[in-house]
Amino acid sequence: MNAIEIRGLNKSFGEKKALSEFNMTVPVGSIYGFIGENGSGKSTTEKIICGLIKHNGGSIKLFDRDYLDDDVKAKIGVLIESPGCFPNMSVWNNLMLQASNLDIKDKKGEVKRVLSLVRMEGSASNKYKNCSLGMKQRVGIAMALLGNPKLLVLDEPINGLDADGMRIMREVLLDLSKSGITILISSHILGELEKIATHYGIIRGGKMLIEMTDSELSKSCRTFIKLKANNQDTKMVLLQKYSEIKVDENDYIRVYDREECENIVTYLYENGILVSEIKEDKISLEEFYIDLMEERVNNGI
């Protein structure tokens, strides 16, 4: 069974087509990384799934049921853009209000449970407006977790978070996934997404370009050899012979052709530069995504 199954989804805003024959399959229990440029249709898709905006055709099924069925909607937790909280109320009161909306019997117990899931037990009495961005995002996730949802739809939950905020968010999402919740998460921070997602979907211009599992992604990502030489002239020396050589942000020289690697090491040695480190690596999700986008642009898609 799939948590989300979308087939042939279309959505237009006036003349502008936001989604065109869009398909998506999110398996139960997965963390689905939903990737795309700004304006590619990620948020529109998520808002349609949550019933906030209407589509112009196609089918959406959640757990093999119509996505607008009341009982199914009651089991979806959502964080779209920012949490719908009242700024002058405390975190606790905001969560209690949402628990009331959902008519949860043991409200206090449930609010305590979700606060502990997002590691915010100590900040319950803080006014929402005084919370940091990371805390606000976690309040949003706590709110989405009320009522024990089976599916979480998160729109850019890690944007703007500092390193610590991201780490906490990552741990929270992994814990939730372990407890059996399916998570659909969109983000531009692909490096972070790569650490948690089990499935990926890449959208461009309102169409799903590719869907794959993390193991499929791993196979699709090109491998390369990383070389490091502790000499500031390395790049200049190399460029004299190898005009297309790539040096990454950590000063590693990237060689995509294994056979060429030996020649480069020899060439550097001949020029008095010793290679201190050689290791194999593969391109990141971000690089895979950029390659894919460039390929599409070059092919005029």
């Binding site: 069974m1 398996p27 909280c85 089976k150």
Partner: protein, 273 residues
């Protein structure tokens, strides 16, 4: 992974109970509600104590001759000739309109509506909950208005003579009309949800009853005007009887139903922002 899930269908009672709980909690914790209660008490006191006409020899004649005229006019006067025929408990419906606009505007501004409609509540639940909340608020304002007017009347030494039964019928009639007015304001605010300024201005404009006053000045004091919210509100006057309550009840329920249905339709047909 093949797994089947069972979902529990939330009943209407469960949905509305939760939403009303939230709305009333917010109402009692928002200063705006108390501010409007105070305004509702102060305005009649100010109108009673500070209005009058000055004669050529400098003598001030009060606009009102009786305390209870600040609650309702002596007769149903749809087309007003003086401020004393207009300024009565019907003013509460203007305050109520502004308060509901602020309340619903805050719902949209804070993202609460977005959060709400991603869970199980339906659009009709939202309309019903906000209408009931508005009704309660305006009923409370009617009571503080009554208290403010009564105290001011005592202090200013106005006559207290009144047919008590008619007064009770008039007050009850106006309180009943709160339901219809609240549904109108909820509808207006849902309709203009993206434009807070227009929401509040339209609520104020219709709350003044200016359309019915205009029609009244053309067609005269026609009982047909009781079909409308302002008409029935005016009909609840100091010569009211049990029939007045029935008229107010029918008019209020009819418009509450109409506005709730249209409002639900508007919300259902449009995207949530």
């Amino acid at each position: 992974m093949d797994k089947s899930y069972e979902f529990e269908k939330p009943t209407f009672i469960k949905r509305i109970k939760g939403m009303l709980g939230v709305d009333f909690y917010r109402l009692f914790h928002t200063p705006v509600f108390y501010i409007f209660l105070i305004i509702s008490a102060i305005i009649p006191a100010m109108v009673l104590g500070m209005t009058g006409t000055t004669s050529p020899n400098g003598e001030i004649t009060p606009l009102y001759t009786n305390t209870w005229q600040i609650i309702a006019s002596n007769e149903p006067m749809y087309a007003v000739k003086s401020i004393s025929e207009y300024a009565n408990m019907n003013m509460v419906f203007i305050f109520g309109g502004i308060m509901i606009s602020i309340f619903i505007g805050h719902d949209y501004k804070s993202g609460y509506v977005k959060q709400l409609f991603t869970t199980h509540p339906k659009k009709q639940d939202y309309m019903i909950s906000k209408t009931l909340l508005g009704t309660f608020s305006m009923a409370c304002m009617c009571i503080t208005y009554l208290l403010g007017g009564f105290v001011a009347g005592l202090i200013c030494g106005y006559s207290m003579d009144v047919n008590f039964g008619s007064l009770v019928c008039a007050i009850l009639g106006k309180i009943i009309m709160s339901l219809g007015w609240a549904s109108l304001y909820t509808f207006l605010n849902v309709l203009f949800r993206k434009f807070f300024g227009i929401s509040i201005a339209s609520s104020f404009f219709l709350g003044t009853g200016i359309l019915i006053i205009g029609v009244g000045s053309v067609v005269g004091n026609s009982t047909m005007l009781n079909l409308f919210l302002y008409g029935s509100s005016v009909y609840a006057c100091l010569s009211s009887n049990f029939v007045t309550i029935i008229v107010c009840l029918v008019c209020s329920l009819m418009w509450a139903l109409i506005y709730n249905l249209i409002g639900t339709l508007v919300l259902s047909k449009c995207d949530v922002y």
